[in-house]
Symmetry: C2
Subunit: 109 residues, 2 copies
DNA sequence: TTTATTGTTCTACGATTATCGAACTAATCT
DNA sequence: AGATTAGTTCGATAATCGTAGAACAATAAA
């Protein structure tokens, strides 16, 4: 069974988190996972890039400590480490996701 | 008199802001400017890198819309565009700066 | 006018990053 | 057992990034 390494809370850094969220592909991905409010398989989320590129981005998000990956058969189930991030960097993830959501709405106007 | 181009509020992007803040040198710099609570000259803030590197970083912060630069004689006076950023991305800058400050305190423990 | 100060730009380098197609791996389905 | 599915890794490319020393530019001080 494939096992993924996730950083402990101590290993998560603010600049690492900001860096991971500063890429539009990754920010959009995290938004979609957040909106789903439950574990999503990798492929459940539409992506504008190749599968290999998406694997790369998901690895960046995992290594930054933003997502948790749970293997489930041939799928990888993704969830946000919201609680740990909120405890470590209060308000950062939530405010970023809210702003990203507002942008989405504004751009659809 | 040297004039600096600053992006308008419309031109400021969330990923641009996150990218600019994801570098430790720039995050530290923005923290120092925030703590000062008034315009600082470039050189008033200690930096761990060469002057030319710092000029580069300051340009990135300006182009991301995080800081405003006002030439003042041979100096450049730096201020945070806090209000505009708060209006556009509520809570993002403040929560990031608070977390950065907490890290600073924790690391001194 | 010359010198000093502050900060910028130029140029270059090494490292990192995002991208993708091809090939691969592990689990599940038939 | 073979085929399918989901996702990963490999290897390559091009672009971006952070770094710095040297040279420069604008302003102020002497």
């Amino acid at each position: 069974m494939k096992q993924y390494q996730h950083p402990t809370a101590d290993q998560i850094t603010l600049t690492g988190v900001l860096h991971a969220l500063s890429d539009p592909v990754r920010l959009n991905y995290v938004q979609c996972v957040a909106q789903a409010a439950c574990e999503q398989s990798c492929g459940a989320i539409p992506t504008p890039v190749a599968k290999s590129t998406m694997s790369h981005h998901i690895r960046v998000l995992r290594e930054a400590g933003i997502i948790h990956i749970r293997p489930y058969g041939t799928q990888s189930l993704i969830s946000l480490r919201s609680d740990e991030l909120e405890q470590k960097f209060p308000g950062v993830l939530n405010s970023v996701l809210k702003s990203a959501k507002n942008i989405e709405v504004t751009e659809q106007a």
